[in-house]
Assembly symmetry: C2
Homo-oligomer: 471 residues x 2
């Protein structure tokens, strides 16, 4: 299969015109129930074909005995059957001309079962013969919010907003771990993919595909182990020139390594080596689960930074000090403002305030004009490459107004990247959050994460510079 052909087939998989669910069930104790439910509740617009010889209809949809009985074309088959039946079903996919499959079925390559590896090999052979692109096996499935496609077993993924961040994860569990955070922070997502045991779609294939996916602006990878590290790095090096990639690599420890082998059937390898290889290939490194999605969020919505000189602005001194500490701990440079900026800020802010970096807006908090003016001065300073703004909700009612307009316009006019810590009790600033999101300002629940996210923009800028890619 040529590269182009492969990408076209992945396009069918992520943007199918019709979907079959093999192993669909009415029994709430079966995964096939939850898979069909997810697809329907996700609002998929094309025809849905439940496949199960035991039913004539499920959820009001006509059910078929097998894929071959379906009258129309099938672009995507979601397969939720026991391991031993998977071979047969994949063979049927071939016969029915199915273009892509999500193989939720587990118990194959990762198995201690003697026949596990043999089964997986057999599956791969059939898939290759039929040119069926397969996500899985041993996956929760995948979601493409732009196609209203929830091809997994968890309906809640459909509650996520459409957006431009794609997450490709070896572990479906990690997708589930991040989902509530994505919902709370209002991160818009494009694809969320559980790669599982990677029959014939691996990280490199996904990078290749997502590089050209118009609905994707940044790619987050959760990696436990890699079968073909060289292929991944080479692909990443090319893709990173056009689209930012961030990776969180686990299975670092000796014991976790063994666990990962058992989990998805690949060795995790030496972490430091991976980290160096990632950096060299333009992949931004994340050091935790929330860092991963936070960095991807920033990379999708903000431009790369032209340098490491960071300005910290904070509604309250404490958050500014945490952000400043984190900057220095993470190797970013807390910039010195020009004398002109310092003297202007001194005129603007009262004397009992921190008026150099970090800048403390506390004593003019209820004066959005002055806060906005201070923010503009900081963005305009030629010694500033990137800005972190920290706000928490204090007081009650409308005492505290967010200087949203100043943040958005300063960012737009200077082209300098900004990340924002915005934290408040449920409901208080939802409208403001929405305005910031609409203007592509990414928001984070702690100053630490806001700085980590900004660091990703700095590192991506450094990669593009090294690679001579103008930005």
């Amino acid at each position: 299969m040529s590269l182009e052909d492969g990408k076209r087939r992945l396009a069918f998989l992520f943007y199918p015109r019709s979907v079959a669910v093999v192993g669909a069930s009415k029994n709430t104790k079966k995964m096939g129930y939850h898979a069909l439910k997810s697809l329907i509740e996700g609002g998929f617009k094309g025809p849905i074909y439940p496949i199960n010889p035991g039913y004539s209809s499920i959820f009001g949809l006509k059910a078929y005995s097998s894929l071959k009985d379906v009258p129309g074309e099938i672009d995507l088959a979601i397969i939720v059957v026991p391991a031993k039946v998977a071979l047969e079903v994949l063979e049927e996919c071939r016969e029915a001309g199915v273009k892509g499959a999500v193989l939720i079925t587990a118990g194959l390559r990762e198995a201690e079962l003697e026949e596990g590896p043999r089964l997986q090999e057999e599956l791969r052979r059939i898939a290759e013969k039929s040119k069926v692109k397969v996500i899985g096996p041993n996956t929760f499935g995948m979601v493409n919010l732009h196609a209203d496609l929830n091809a997994g077993f968890t309906p809640s993924f459909s509650r996520i907003k459409k957006g431009v961040v794609s997450l490709v994860s070896q572990s479906g569990g990690v997708c589930h771990l991040l989902m509530p955070y994505i919902l709370e922070q209002g991160i818009g997502m494009s694809k969320i993919v559980g790669l599982g045991n990677r029959l014939n779609v691996d990280f490199a294939d996904m990078l290749e595909y997502l590089a050209h996916d118009e609905d994707t602006r940044s790619i987050a990878l959760y990696v436990e182990g890699i079968d073909e590290p060289r292929k991944l790095m080479e692909t990443a090096r090319r893709v990173a020139r056009v689209k930012p990639i961030v990776a969180f690599k686990t299975g670092r420890s000796r014991k976790a390594d063994a666990a990962s082998k058992s989990h998805t059937g690949s060795l995790a390898g030496n972490y430091e080596l991976y980290k160096a290889a990632f950096k060299q290939s333009g992949i931004v490194v994340a050091d935790g689960s929330l860092e991963l999605i936070s960095k991807a969020d920033a990379l999708a919505h903000q431009p790369p930074a032209k340098g490491r000189r960071v300005a910290v602005i904070s509604l309250v001194a404490g958050l500014g000090i945490i952000a400043a500490d984190t900057c220095e701990a993470k190797g970013l440079e807390l910039t010195e403002f020009t004398e002109e900026t310092v003297s202007k800020i001194k005129k603007l802010l009262p004397p009992f305030t921190i008026r150099t970096n970090p800048v403390d807006l506390g004593f003019v908090a209820n004066d959005p004009e002055k806060c906005g003016e201070a923010i503009r001065l900081v963005f305009d300073d030629p010694n500033v490459d990137a800005v972190v703004v920290n706000y928490i909700f204090s007081w009650s009612e409308d005492f505290l107004l967010l200087p949203i307009e100043a943040i958005i316009s300063s960012h737009r006019e200077t082209g300098k990247p900004v990340t924002m810590c915005l934290r408040y009790p449920h409901g208080v600033w939802d409208v403001e959050k929405e305005s910031l999101r609409k203007a592509s300002i990414p928001i984070f629940p702690t100053p630490e994460l806001a700085v980590e996210a900004l660091k990703a923009l700095v590192e991506y800028g450094e990669y593009l510079s090294r690679a001579n890619v103008p930005f």
Copy 2:
């Protein structure tokens, strides 16, 4: 003032029978409005006296021209007046026999104002003469949920559940930063104190007081700088024998150090020195804002661990691998189970599962009996000192049941500490969360935080052992 006398006076401050708000206002643009509103909405049961010569009543309460005009005794005065009037008001506190004060007023010691330090010295002199204990100046105030006392300017603090964690923070901003997390995780709090510029109540005084506060079981400190580090360490060494203390220290970097001086008027000092001193004094070190409150949560609700040997149990392999990685990165030991445990788990769980540490429950996820049995086996293993359990919500409806009973009873029967990552879309497992909370099982939104929290229990156990305190 003797130590006992000082503690008695702090008790009046945190459990006042009556409260005056000096500078109370009807003007929503004034801090005095938000302070009075917070106190009233917080449900304080005793008499409330608004003090402002410009009003005859505020919020339906009779207003007084000055503290001296109040007919009854005043235990606590919340002072929200401009810096230059503060002296006069504190003098009035003395005359009116006020026992404690929360001095929200800012612009004193931290000021670049020439008269700042002089003003703060003058205030201290008056406070000492009158034996008035003062929280502040330059603080959001403080909250004691056990007295329905919101003596700050942010009503939302009153939405926090009553509990046994006390937070003492140099920065009010950090209290506000953590508040939404506290609400979301359902952490029960006792006192939340913004120390500000510490006129005559410093970290050491708070430790001294909270050591004997029956409503407090763990103490979290957010520290930027310390005036008398030796006094703090000596106090901590004594207090840590009876109650766990955890501290997050910022102002580490050179620039943040300067900012901290400007913020609350004290030098932040060398971080590594502080870290060593903290450890020696029995203070558990936290390395971030969420880590601080997470560790305090675990320390308040779980016993210290008897050793470093950790078992990881996870509904899904991915979270188990993240937790295992974090354990090893943080110096905890991923334990080896006994042969007996291994063989029992092998009988219990299907072969395509990770059945050694970390233990993967994924393939029996919808069988709470088997999950419970695996959890019991792990807790019972003599090679296990502490346990991390990781659950995320997957599927839909009631397919996935949490083995709550097994977790709670195993923990109780073995006395081994446990922390739990529990993450789900809003609303799904609120009842389960409540049950776990009631049984003192602390829950965290990521495996990383669950491990960090467990590490606090390990380190506190090590301190108690070193100090020959039986536990």
